[in-house]
């Protein structure tokens, strides 16, 4: 049973609106049957109106679905509740009214024109009132959902940016930069320029849909140069981009996560470090006749976990696991832009290390 809390202020507001409505109905009734007097009409109206409203207002809480935005039960339940409210309200309200104003003579069971009209007015008023409150509530709930979704979207964007900027990487780089300023100012300046380019590319890259391959390679060059300062001779790298591939358009940040993973999971844990090769090749690969673009990130690191290893540990927040956020991101991007035409594989290399390969058919690039 879902716990529900009742917003009493809202309930009071609704009731006051109902009361106003009852006054209006009473006025209409008096206009139709002037002999009964406004006071009496008002009395009946308030009794019936209050009860109809009461049944519907409090009846909807146990009946609504937990995720319902308007707080109203859906479908047949809503109709049934409204109907029940009207019937009960009219029945009990009229009886009470009769006891108070008509000395106990029942008006309910009379099947004359007056009571039929009375019923009709109650039904019409009940439906109108219910609809009025329902649509108000629904609109408010929808507005709340929209602003919640907007908040989620900005939060997600912020998280993406934060993970791309990688505070750990940034502060370690700055630490090294600080040392270089004293030791080797020329090299410090060069490093600062690299960092500048890298940050610009990070902040811009998140938005663009496609960018030329040479821009991606340039960014990788900046990143690897920065990592090289930190890792010393534990990191050796090479970037191979043939001239005919330079202008090809690919989604940004496709290779970046692969290179990061290579370093973080392949080279960093290895005491002597290793080598990374980033390569772009155009050709007919995999026996197909269509030309394709093959992007590879090859490393000589500690390699992938063994095939018979137990399933990977669940990710702790902030912990980067092999095949974590970066790689799913790559797969998602490929799927979004190329559908099933592009392929991404992660394989161990025969001599040790890992090979990450992205295969994109050329007419899409």
């Amino acid at each position: 049973m879902t716990a529900f809390s009742i917003d009493w202020r809202q309930v009071l507001r609704h009731y006051l609106q109902v009361v106003a409505f009852c006054f209006a109905i009473a006025a209409i009734n008096t206009a139709i049957w002037p002999d009964k007097g406004y006071g009496r009409q008002l009395g009946y109206s308030l009794l019936i109106g209050s009860l109809v409203w009461g049944v519907i207002e409090f009846g909807r809480y146990p009946l609504r679905r937990p995720d319902d935005p308007g707080g109203w039960p859906q479908g047949w339940r809503r109709v049934a509740l409204t109907a029940a409210g009207i019937v009960l309200g009219f029945a009990v309200g009229s009886t009470l009214g009769d006891m108070l104003f008509n000395d106990g003579n029942a008006t309910l069971m009379r099947i004359d024109r007056e009571s039929r009209v009375g019923w009709l007015i109650t039904v019409a008023a009940g439906i109108a009132g219910s609809y009025f409150f329902y649509s108000r509530g629904h609109r408010a709930a929808l507005a709340a959902r929209v602003s919640a979704a907007e908040r989620d979207a900005s939060e997600a964007r912020l998280k993406l940016l934060e993970s791309q900027l990688e505070p750990h990487m940034l502060f370690n780089t700055l630490a090294n930069l600080r040392v270089l300023i004293g030791l080797d100012p020329a090299r410090a300046v060069a490093m600062l320029d690299r960092l500048d380019n890298y940050l610009r590319a990070t902040l811009a890259g998140a938005r663009a849909l496609l960018h030329p391959l040479e821009a991606e390679f340039e960014r990788l060059g900046d990143y690897l140069a920065l990592m090289e300062v930190r890792m010393g001779d534990r990191l050796r790298y090479s970037l191979e981009l043939p001239p005919e591939a330079r202008r090809l358009q690919i989604p940004p940040l496709l290779l970046q996560p692969l290179v990061e993973n290579s370093i973080r999971h392949g080279l960093e844990p290895k005491v002597e470090g290793g080598e990374i090769q980033v390569r772009a090749t155009i050709g007919a690969t995999d026996g197909s006749t269509k030309p394709a673009l093959l992007l590879e990130v090859l490393d000589t690191g500690i390699g992938l976990p063994a095939a018979d290893a137990p399933a990977p540990a669940p990710l702790a927040a902030g912990d980067a696991a092999p095949g974590g956020f970066g790689l799913t991101h790559v797969q998602e991007r490929l799927a979004t832009v190329y559908g099933s035409a592009a392929r991404f594989t992660l394989r161990p290399r025969p001599g040790g290390g890992t090979a990450a390969q992205i295969h994109i058919p050329l007419e899409n690039a």
Partner: protein
């Protein structure tokens, strides 16, 4: 004052910077060796017995934490007092918070002279106290050595716990209930067994996996111990060694062997599990 130190830092520029800053702030400190990974740190520290250790937390192979825990057990306490332990940390808000909460000194990357001076002052004072203790006429080898060893072990424990908070702090949401089940997949990865934590007698870290042992079975999981530990009820499970976490109420007996090493046996399992010096304090007779 004269003293010797070992630096373990994998980023060559930062190691150089630390050496230079130490040279400026503490000229009489002799850096015996600079290494770039945890195993080398252990090896060199045991070979040269420095008085101060500057350990980077993140290093390839064995990290700073692992190196410290291994050294705690392998340090020849009869030959030399345990060194002062100072961790070196980069941007890591959890670590910094943990260190500050314990009022433990740490050295931050990039090294800032002001902070380093404070750390050096503390280290010098501690070394001074140690020297006084050993030189005092009232000092008798066994009880005095034990007391100062206990003190050092307690200090190391605090520093290691604070440094360990880097990974652990993020693993469990504060106030979340302890883990009830361990999900362990079998070798083929096709089945996942839900092992009730209530059945687990101990966890042992082995290479890349952690062994989960009940009275009758053994399972393997990949969650590292430091990530698992914060999710377990600290009253029910005790860490007794870098690689071992045992169910406290399953401990049958704790014994010392001929070489003075502490080990324990659990009810329902035949193995003898080594207890690290760092955690021997849990088993002091009442």
């Amino acid at each position: 004052m004269n003293a010797t130190a070992l630096i373990a830092e994998d980023e060559p520029l930062l190691a150089q910077a630390l050496r230079m800053e130490l040279q400026a702030a503490w000229p009489d400190l002799q850096v015996l060796a600079t290494v770039a990974d945890g195993h080398s740190a252990v090896r060199e520290a045991l070979a040269r017995l420095p008085q101060v250790l500057f350990l980077d937390i993140r290093m390839p192979g064995l990290d700073g934490l692992g190196a410290a825990m291994e050294l705690a057990d392998r340090w020849p306490v009869d030959e030399a007092p345990m060194p002062q332990l100072v961790f070196v940390t980069a941007y890591d808000e959890y670590a910094v918070r943990a260190f500050e909460a314990q009022a433990i000194d740490y050295v931050r990357k990039p090294v800032q002279p002001e902070r380093l001076r404070k750390t050096i002052a503390r280290v010098q004072q501690a070394l001074g106290n140690q020297a006084v203790q050993q030189a005092s006429p009232a000092h008798t080898p066994t009880p005095g050595a034990d007391a100062s060893l206990e003190h050092m072990l307690a200090q190391w424990r605090r520093v290691i716990d604070a440094a360990g908070a880097t990974g652990g702090a993020q693993a469990a949401a504060p106030g979340s209930p302890p883990l009830k089940f361990i999900a362990a997949s079998d070798a083929g990865g096709q089945t996942v067994r839900m092992v009730p934590v209530a059945d687990v007698l101990y966890f042992e870290a082995a290479d890349k996996y952690v062994r989960v042992l009940t009275a009758t079975q053994e399972h393997l999981i990949r969650t590292p111990l430091k990530q698992l530990l914060p999710q377990l009820d600290p009253q029910a499970f005790w860490q007794v060694h870098r690689a071992v976490v045992v169910r406290s109420d399953a401990i049958e007996v704790v014994q010392r062997d001929e070489s003075g090493r502490l080990f324990l046996r659990l009810r329902g399992r035949p193995e003898k599990l080594t207890v690290s010096r760092l955690y021997a304090h849990l088993f002091k007779a009442m």
